[in-house]
Each structure stands twice: as C-alpha cells, then as structure tokens.
Symmetry: C2
Subunit: 155 residues, 2 copies
DNA sequence: ATCGATGCAAAGTTTTTGCAATGCT
DNA sequence: AGCATTGCAAAAACTTTGCATCGAT
C-alpha cells in the first residue's frame, strides 16, 4: 500500500530534519495511534507488544512535539492520543463514558467568540467536551440518585 | 459572617439527608475548594494541613457525589476541583499552562448545536478548553521551535 | 452506644529517570 | 564510529485500600 510508505517517509523526514532517527518502535507507535484512535499509552503498548512501555511514553511525547499526534484528557484516567490528522471534537458522556465525535467545524463560532473576548486561540482538535450522551440524557428523568450530579444552571 | 454559617448549615443538612456526618474535615476541605478555585487534591491538602491526604481524596469524592464540588482535567497532571457554584469555562494555555476563565454563557450556542445535532447535553461547568492564551498567541510568530506544536486547519 | 469518619501504613497505578546495551546514520 | 534510542530496573508521583481508633449523633 503506497499510503503507508508515504506516511513512513514523512515520519522519517520529520525525524531527520531534527537530527533524530527513524526506528521501528517509532513507526509502530505512530501506526498504533492512527489505528486505535484516542488510545491511552497502555492500550498502545498492548497493541505494539514488542515495544517497551517506557519507549511508548517517550515516543508519544516526541511525536507530540513533532506535531504528529495529540493528546486529550477524556476522563479521570490516562490521557488518550490520536493522530494529528484525526480532527474532531470528542463528546464524552460522564454518565456512561461513551465517547462520540463531531466535526471541528461546530466550534468555529465559539473559537471566534473566544478570540474576540479573551484573545484565546482555541485548539479545537485537542478538545474533549463532557456532558450526557443522547442515551443517558433520555434516561435522566428516571433517576435522581445519590451518585448522580445533575443541575443545569437556570440560564 | 452570616454567609459562612449558611454554607455550613447547607453542608450539614445535605450530609444529614444521606445519613452522613458533619465533620470539621469536610467543612475545611469544602472551604479550601471554594477559596483556592481549581485546586488539585495536593494543593487542597497543603491548604488544610491538619487534614490527611487520604481524607482529602475521600472528601472530594463525597462532595462531588453530593453535587457540591466538581472536578476538571486542566492538563496532564492531577484533576482540579472547584465549588459547584463557581461556574465558568476554563481556558487552558497549553504553551504556558495559564488558566483563564470565561462565563459559561459563551457556550450557549455550542450547547444548542450539540443538542440538535448529536443529542448531547453539554455540561458547561465541567469544562476545560485548550489552546493558546493571548500572551502566547502573540509570541507565536517569533517562534518556530522544535517543541511547539502548531498548525491550525485550513478552515 | 452506635456506626460513620479519620489517620496511618501499606499496596496499587501510572509515569519518569538513570544507565548500560543496542542500532541508526 | 559516533551518538541517539531502547530496555530494564528503580524511583517518583498519584491514588486507593485495610484496619484500628476516634467522634458525631
């Protein structure tokens, strides 16, 4: 598959530009990030069993500095990594943990507002929004349990 | 100060409703969360030195279940807690780490869009947006360093 | 007096660091 | 050959658990 080679060459070139080296581990980790989509370091490590967990951490940090991957905090646990080109907004349900995705475009308006009011350049591809997914939002009326935090502000 | 007593009574009542007990530690931790604003468990523990770190963790979890505090993941490290009534959106600069805040209202439009398109109920008070703060966005032109990830999508 | 809450110590998780061995270039 | 990279082991950082004691009700 030509695409794979292209990606691989791109990685090699990016590394060489910085005086860094192309290794099998780096290729494997990058491929795993692309294949798994928002995966934690541990999940990535499981996927590429031959690569040591230490190397996974170091490689993810490197790939992020190179702009090839990004990480997001989807919940309480470990950060999750995705390929740079995988641009979307994560919608994380903090009831059931389900992660949905919507196009980055939906944030354009917000990005404009934040730029205007706070001078803040929103990085939309880096983003996790929490709330209730469709399924859990529906079932809310049936619950008013101890363990659930729920109260939307008046307006 | 009457306000303090009111808050304290509210905490006591909320606890008693569940058959739980009002303790000095719970009062101290809740006050610390309110005073510090988006503080990590460790920072809270430092603030209320007399309370054991274990108790801080347990109390934060409890207060969150009771709907009195919330937590957000502002960055790589530990989660940060704020009082439930402290409603705002965090703007986290992933260059310098600075955390700014804007009113939740700015998300109203986005919340509507997500509800309509994905059935997702956005929890705006729980939110951290990452990007570049005004200061770091300004200085971007001066840098094209190795360590900086930067590339906004075409449109 | 009862039973929930706390503190201490110990264990569990996740991530980082030091260093000798390995392997790109 | 030179120097970045890896793997291992150990440390560090963060969080949870068990249990005896303490304290709110």
């Amino acid at each position: 598959m030509a695409k794979v080679d292209v990606e691989q060459v791109r990685l090699r070139d990016t590394l060489h530009d910085k005086g860094l080296r192309m290794t099998e581990q780096r290729r494997l980790v990058l491929n795993a990030v692309r294949a798994l989509e928002h995966a934690t370091p541990e999940q990535i490590c499981r996927e590429v069993a031959s690569v040591n967990i230490t190397t996974v951490y170091r490689t993810l940090e490197l790939l992020e500095r190179l702009g090839l991957v990004r990480h997001t905090h989807l919940g309480h646990g470990a950060p999750t990594y995705s390929a740079q080109e995988h641009r979307h907004v994560h919608l994380v349900c903090h009831r059931c943990g389900h992660v949905d995705e919507v196009p980055v475009r939906q944030l354009a308006e917000l990005a404009g507002t934040l730029r205007a009011t706070a001078g803040f350049e929103l990085d939309a591809s880096h983003l996790a929004l929490s709330g209730r997914c469709a399924g859990c939002a529906d079932s809310v009326s049936a619950h008013s349990t101890y363990s659930v935090v729920d109260d939307q502000e008046p307006s």
